[in-house]
């Protein structure tokens, strides 16, 4: 052996391996393998240091390396399947039955308010979220962000490691330096510490924060969320104290909304939608309806459900609201706004329904409007009846704009040594004038606890991955203050830390787990000896029964008139997006691809304007325009939407993220750059410049008129009372049995069917996300949506009728209609779509060859085709989300709504075991379960007492395109509104 320098010995191999970690381990083995020395070392008959064989430890290592090199040698050729052991449980985990999902009660915070949920888990993987039926804020339903939360959990773009200046570190090394920094602060009582959080509503977190402030009395705690500012400050303005309004829409005969979207997003939206719908639907012989007036600066799904809707320029809304406040409080309304029939009719209705009306302001509206609304509700004697005032839900309600100002002042004063930013994304969500991107860098040490490496994380040295709400213990209130206990459903996927962990670091017990923190907090509240049982019950139920916030009495005063902002020829109003909110859910592809109820757009926000405005400015859809306000400008694409007030544009916030992740980065434009703290809801003096090019917008629907086909049948309450069968007279439906195909089949067992009440449906799209989560529906991306290839099994069609400038909007959820004479079935050449004995139109994916003939022949166009490989087969984390009861489809096959056949079969198996029929209400489809408005009934048509059978017997029941003799199993109850005859055709 002359080439000693080339050859290796075992020691040096071990040394080299020991230096390498993680991925580089394999790299160095590879290198080792390819060096001539290593080859020589392997092939030598007697290893150079035969002593290794005597040394037990060394021999084992030698064999290990030999084994590794042999395995690597195999990589070049055929790989033998590695031996994998199937390990049965020695002891079965509690409640775990393979194939049977387990539901855990928990909560999901959306902008501070916790949605009460039940999380379906399969083998400890959360796969689907349902509402908690026992919780008053849910009653089994959820809103859209909550429904999509499970995808957020598995988001592959989440921050996955602790980093310091972009280098991976361990959490313990962070703790070391953090605790050192804290001990340095102790001398000054923490004067250099600044903690910026979202709105803190968790009582445990609130208590922890008090503890921190006790330990570091000079430390600062600021909150910024951007959500609910008008609501909080408006209450303060009206009552002189923070209160939380809770509305009882089920008690209200007259509802007046001022730019509100209470059916679509915001606090209590799920319960409000249910309560509101309960006063609108006409099932079971009811012939009364509440009446709903809406004033809007930009059309929303809520305004679409109104009986009368008035588009108003944003600068006019304060003027209008003051006039309305004057009129309903016995004063004299003045000004032009008060002369309209709409105004006078509304005032008359409101005054006639004292104590039974609600005036509500939008979440995006200013404090002044909210204060006026409180004043009106008081004048209308609604307080304590339809509007309850409770203690604030925030642990410390503040004016968050003032908080931001103070924070920036501290930063500019060089007073901040340690800035801890917990959650939120203030760099993106704060108005541009605060320049948080620049100002944050004035803090010496910046620590960021967040789910993503987002815009805020970008300017922080330490980035700590935050736990998803499904990975931690916590607590928090629903809209009425009822406290949810959130339990973890899965161990942190990326070793994240919760806000509780972070604040614990300030105390004597920095490593205390969040379980103990939450439990001890509640133990301090519930001191009885029965705590253990009480706690178990609360965790099991997911919430503390009867913990709604206490009512307070407060007297509202008319807020002093602010100097009215002069209107201008062109104004812009800002709206929180109902799905991605302020951008916090921007990387959730389900939410990005969920069509907005009014614009029907996906993946982008738009510059929304009316037809007339577009014509005046000579703009067309998808024209790229520059929006300039006060010297700041952004660009977006024009989208014409009827009902937008002329001379205004509406834009949604939450888009234009620059560091959101693969789904959110680059979607839309950041309208936040135009906002200022002094007027966060709208801006005047807007300049629009046509940039002379197109920027395509991905809409899922392009035609909004019904073309005389009446897919949505509608009428007024008066018409319905006059002729309850008016719906049935609109078209003739062919008699049963009119078919050349043998139709002697009798559905003797079950006959599944669905009915959808269009009066209740408010187009919120929660059902669409629920369907997507339940049925493993792929996301296709903007490019594919542009070519109308979206995969949603359920879509919500939106039509307009009436006045073109301010039309009535109608929502209609359309999934597979499960026709008894199904046109798709007879044309499939391979029998891949077939009828079953219970009336389901089934899709056999394995048999489908993809001729798409079924889709062509479907008059409802509800079938969806995998034109390309849409399902993500590669991203490991996303595989965990998939529902194991539903086939994951690959490219080239057709798919469509299955009536959640997996749920039907589950219920049938359960019933069969007990030798009984499936009971009504046992099968709840995903869309039905999550519908906040309870607009969907599903069940057995052979059971005359089932909910769906009763709905189908209603006089308003009709089949979509029934004249085609497809005999759909899905039917609709016509939409009935209750307009005030005094307003007439005006709006």
């Amino acid at each position: 052996m002359t080439e000693q320098s080339d050859s290796l010995n075992l020691e040096s191999v071990q040394k080299r391996l020991a230096q390498a970690t993680g991925k580089s381990y394999w790299r160095s083995l590879d290198e080792l393998f390819s060096t001539a020395g290593f080859q020589e070392f392997l092939h030598r008959e007697f290893p150079r240091q035969a002593a290794e064989w005597i040394d037990d430890d060394g021999r084992r290592n030698f064999l290990k390396i030999m084994g590794a090199s042999l395995a690597l040698a195999g990589l070049t050729g055929c790989v033998k399947q590695p031996v994998e052991y199937v390990m049965p449980y020695v002891e079965e985990p509690e409640k775990l039955l393979a194939g049977k999902p387990v539901f855990y009660a928990s909560g999901y915070p959306v902008a501070g308010l916790v949605s009460p949920i039940l999380v379906e888990t399969h083998d400890f993987r959360p796969t689907k979220v349902e509402g908690n039926p026992e919780h008053p804020a849910s009653l089994g339903a959820t809103d859209v962000p909550t429904q999509a939360s499970v995808l957020g959990l598995y988001d592959p773009d989440r921050l996955q490691a602790v980093t310091y200046l972009d280098e991976a570190r361990s959490y313990s090394s962070f703790m070391l330096s953090f605790l050192t920094a804290l001990s340095q602060q102790r001398a000054s009582a923490g004067a250099g510490i600044c903690i910026l959080t979202e709105t803190v509503t968790s009582p445990t977190l609130g208590a922890q924060m008090q503890e921190v402030l006790k330990q570091f009395p000079a430390a600062k705690w600021y909150q910024w969320d951007g959500q609910g500012h008008g609501r909080r400050s408006g209450a303060e303005l009206a009552f002189g104290q923070y209160v939380n309004p809770v509305y009882k829409f089920d008690q209200a005969d007259v509802v007046f909304s001022i730019d509100g979207n209470f059916l679509g997003s915001g606090p209590g939206t799920v319960r409000y939608a249910r309560d509101f719908a309960s006063r609108r639907v006409l099932r079971g012989g009811v012939t009364t309806q509440s009446r709903f007036y809406a004033v809007e600066a930009s059309p929303t799904s809520t305004g679409s459900k109104s009986d009368h809707r008035l588009p108003l320029k944003p600068s006019q809304i304060p003027v209008f609201t003051r006039a309305l406040a004057a009129a309903v409080s016995g004063g004299q309304a003045s000004g032009e706004v008060s002369t309209s029939k709409f105004f006078q009719a509304a005032v008359k209705d409101l005054l006639a329904a004292k104590g039974k009306s609600i005036v509500i302001a939008g979440e995006d509206q200013s404090a002044e409007i909210h204060a006026l609304v409180h004043f009106m509700n008081q004048a209308l004697e609604n307080h304590g009846k339809t509007v309850l005032l409770t203690a604030p839900l925030e642990q410390k309600a503040t004016d968050q704009y003032a908080d931001l100002k103070a924070l920036v002042a501290d930063l500019n004063g060089g007073k901040v040594d340690l800035l801890l930013i917990i959650g939120g994304n203030p760099v993106f969500t704060a108005p541009a004038e605060f320049n948080l991107r620049g100002n944050f860098q004035k803090a010496k040490t910046r620590v960021r606890l967040g789910l993503y490496e987002d815009e805020t994380a970008e300017v922080c040295q330490w980035r700590i991955p935050e736990t998803h709400p499904f990975e931690q213990w916590s607590d928090g209130p629903a809209y009425d203050g009822t406290m949810s206990i959130m339990q973890p459903l899965i161990a942190p996927l990326y070793g994240g830390k919760s806000a509780h962990n972070m604040l614990a670091a300030f105390t004597d017990t920095p490593e205390k787990p969040d379980y103990l923190l939450v439990r001890e907090y509640w133990q301090s509240k519930h001191t009885g000896a029965d705590f253990e049982a009480w706690w178990k019950r609360a965790v099991h139920d997911g919430f503390v029964k009867g913990s709604a916030a206490a009512e307070v009495t407060a007297t509202a005063k008319m807020p002093a008139a602010e100097a009215a902002v002069a209107g201008s020829a062109m104004e812009v109003s800002f709206h929180t997006d109902p799905y991605v909110l302020d951008g916090r859910y921007a990387n959730n592809a389900w939410l990005q691809e969920l069509p907005r109820p009014v614009t029907r757009l996906t993946w982008d926000n738009a510059v929304v304007m009316s037809e007339k405005t577009a014509r005046d400015l000579d703009l067309k859809d998808e024209d790229r325009v520059e929006l300039a306000v006060n010297g700041r400008s952004v660009w977006g694409s024009v989208w014409r939407v009827p009902g937008q007030p002329d001379g205004t544009v509406g834009v949604s916030l939450g888009y234009g993220r620059t560091r959101a992740g693969r789904a959110g980065t680059g979607a839309g434009f950041n309208a936040n750059l135009l906002r200022s703290a002094s007027s966060p809801t709208f801006a005047t003096g807007v300049k629009l410049k046509n940039l002379g090019e197109k920027f395509p917008l991905a809409a899922v629907q392009h035609h909004f008129l019904m073309e005389g086909r009446a897919p949505v049948r509608e009428g007024t309450l008066a018409e319905y009372i006059k002729d309850p069968l008016f719906v049935q007279k609109e078209t003739e439906t062919p008699p049963a049995g009119l078919t050349i195909l043998p139709s002697d089949w009798q559905y003797k067992g079950y006959a599944w069917g669905m009915a959808i009440d269009l009066t209740a449906c408010n187009g919120c799209n929660a059902c669409v996300v629920a369907c997507q989560a339940e049925n493993n529906i792929a996301v296709v991306g903007k490019g594919q949506v542009l070519n109308t290839r979206e995969m949603h099994w359920l879509r919500i069609d939106r039509y307009y009728s009436g006045d073109a400038a301010n039309p009535r909007a109608h929502f209609q959820p359309v999934g597979c209609q499960h026709c008894e004479n199904a046109p798709c079935e007879i044309v499939c050449p391979v029998a891949a779509t077939v009828h079953d004995a219970e009336g389901l139109n089934n899709m056999v994916y394995n048999r489908c060859v993809g001729t798409r003939y079924c889709s062509n022949n479907c008059p409802y166009k509800v079938r969806r085709f995998n034109f390309l490989l849409y399902t993500d087969w590669d991203t490991e984390s996303l595989k965990l989300q998939r529902n194991p009861d539903v086939t994951v489809r690959s490219r080239g096959v057709m798919e469509k709504c299955s009536f959640c056949v997996q749920r039907i079969n589950y219920a049938k198996i359960m019933a069969e075991k007990e030798d009984r029929r499936v009971k009504d209400g046992e099968v709840i489809t995903a869309c039905q379960a999550t519908c906040p408005a309870d607009a969907i009934a599903f069940g057995d048509l052979n059971d005359p007492e089932s909910k769906v059978s009763k709905w189908k017997r209603e006089q308003l029941n009709y089949s979509l395109l029934g004249e085609l003799n497809t005999r759909p199993r899905v039917t609709y109850l016509a939409e009935i509104r209750n307009p005030n005859p005094a307003v007439g055709e005006e709006s």
Partner: protein, 461 residues
């Protein structure tokens, strides 16, 4: 008696074959193209050009297998696009060949003898092009064989109520019959080539292909019987294949598809486009190979007449389609025709009317019918028109059907075009090869057209 009927001057445009020809000169002229003619630059260029276009098909199909049919412009609601348009178009083109070789044979139209071989070859190649599309257009083309009825472990048959299943039978039958008919018809000529070729490899190749044809009376007798039988089998196919193809549309319930006029209207359209395609190909071939004494003006005139006649039937179809839509008083039907005429694809509809109804009216003029250049241009226009007809049927019916919410648009992608141009390349490539390696005109049938043959025939009778 088969004395040629004296035609008035107004109609008579010349003989079916130049009277100067003899039995030997025909064999020599037609066979010479294959056996002795030098490979010309033009032919090489044409072959290479069509081969290059064929690569578009190869590339597009490869990408399609890798990525899926999503590379095309199809979507929901327009689930069928170029693939089905091209399928119907190619199948339609094939029909002229079958009509010429089968129906005209049975009707004893002897003028067909000069063009039937070529038309049959065109049929075969067109059906080959057509047959590719139904396979390519499926989402999982590797499973397209499930449309075939074969015993299998799944215990599943195709769904026989589906027109697509009927299509499979119609098209495969058509392909088989056309191929057999064409090949059987080639046998005597292959033997002629075998006998007159000088080179050994030619002798061997044509010898094998001729399958031992020895011109014996028994051979001829069997040949005639087989021809008649095959013609009898092919004749219903002229009507049935495109009828079944039209069922793909007519059986569905989509406005614009669901109409009883489709079968006859499709068949007429098929023959119309087929004759146009024969003209498109024949006119240049006749010129380049100096065959104007065999494929005479009489032929062009006759084909132009058939084209005109079918154009009128097709025009009737269009008018009836519009009338039924109006007369049905059905809102969906009414909208459909209105949308075709004034909707976003109005240009396709009106171009189709221009190409398929207006343009062929020129064929009323005998002068135009006997001017090969103008006729060629008209035939191209008709081909484009017939392609547009299928585009209008497939796309404008689907893109706006019942629910306005699901209305959409369709635009082909570069891969749609590549596939289409690729099949044109394949078609032309095969045509180029065909004219060089096989007698493009039926030698033995031409001989029958000669005065001498006719005398014998009359003597025999």
């Amino acid at each position: 008696m088969s004395q040629p009927v004296e035609l008035p001057d107004k109609i008579y445009v010349g003989p079916v074959i130049d009277e100067q020809h003899t039995l030997a000169s025909i064999s020599d002229k037609v066979g010479g193209v294959v056996l002795r003619r030098k490979i010309t630059l033009g032919w090489t260029f044409g072959l290479l050009l069509s081969f290059a276009a064929l690569q578009g098909l190869a590339g597009a199909a490869t990408l399609l297998f890798v990525k899926g049919v999503g590379i095309w412009g199809i979507n929901i609601p327009v689930g069928w696009g170029f693939a089905i348009i091209n399928f119907v178009w190619w199948i339609g083109i094939g029909h002229a060949g079958t009509l010429i070789s089968a129906i005209l044979l049975l009707l004893n139209q002897s003028w067909r003898n000069a063009i039937n071989r070529f038309a049959e070859a065109m049929t075969l190649f067109a059906v080959m092009c057509a047959g590719m599309f139904p396979v390519l257009h499926t989402g999982r083309p590797w499973l397209a064989y499930w449309l075939l009825p074969y015993p299998n472990t799944m215990w599943l048959w195709p769904q026989f109520r589906s027109p697509l299943a009927w299509d499979v039978f119609a098209v495969t039958t058509y392909l088989i019959i056309s191929a057999v008919f064409w090949f059987v018809g080639l046998l005597p000529d292959l033997a002629t080539l075998r006998d007159s070729s000088k080179k050994d490899w030619q002798k061997r190749t044509y010898g094998i292909l001729a399958m031992g044809w020895r011109n014996s009376a028994r051979h001829w007798q069997r040949y005639e019987k087989a021809s008649l039988l095959l013609a009898g089998m092919a004749t219903p196919l002229v009507v049935s294949v495109h009828t079944v193809v039209s069922f793909d549309f007519a059986v569905s319930l989509i406005p614009g598809w669901h109409t009883t006029i489709f079968p006859p209207y499709f068949v007429a359209g098929a023959i119309y486009s087929g004759f146009a395609m024969v003209l498109t190909l024949m006119i240049p071939v006749r010129k380049f190979y100096g065959l104007d004494d065999i494929i005479t003006l009489r032929h062009l005139n006759n084909m132009a007449k058939v084209t005109l006649a079918t154009a009128l039937i097709v025009a009737y179809g269009y008018i009836m389609e519009a009338f039924f839509s109006y007369f049905s008083a059905d809102k969906y039907e009414k909208f459909m025709i209105w949308n075709r005429m004034t909707g976003p694809y109005w240009w396709a509809y009106w171009t189709l009317i221009l190409c398929n109804i207006i343009t062929p009216q020129f064929l009323w003029s005998k002068k135009i019918r006997t001017s090969p250049g103008i006729l060629w241009v008209i035939s191209i226009v008709v081909n484009i028109g017939m392609w547009l007809e299928r585009f209008v049927i497939v796309v404008t019916s689907l893109h706006r059907d019942f629910l306005p919410s699901s209305w959409g648009m369709y635009a082909p992608t570069v891969w749609d075009w590549a596939t289409y141009v690729g099949t044109l390349g394949l078609f032309m490539f095969l045509i180029f090869l065909f004219v060089r390696v096989l007698p493009m005109i039926t030698i033995f049938e031409l001989r029958m057209l000669l005065p001498g043959a006719r005398v014998k025939e009359s003597v025999a009778r």
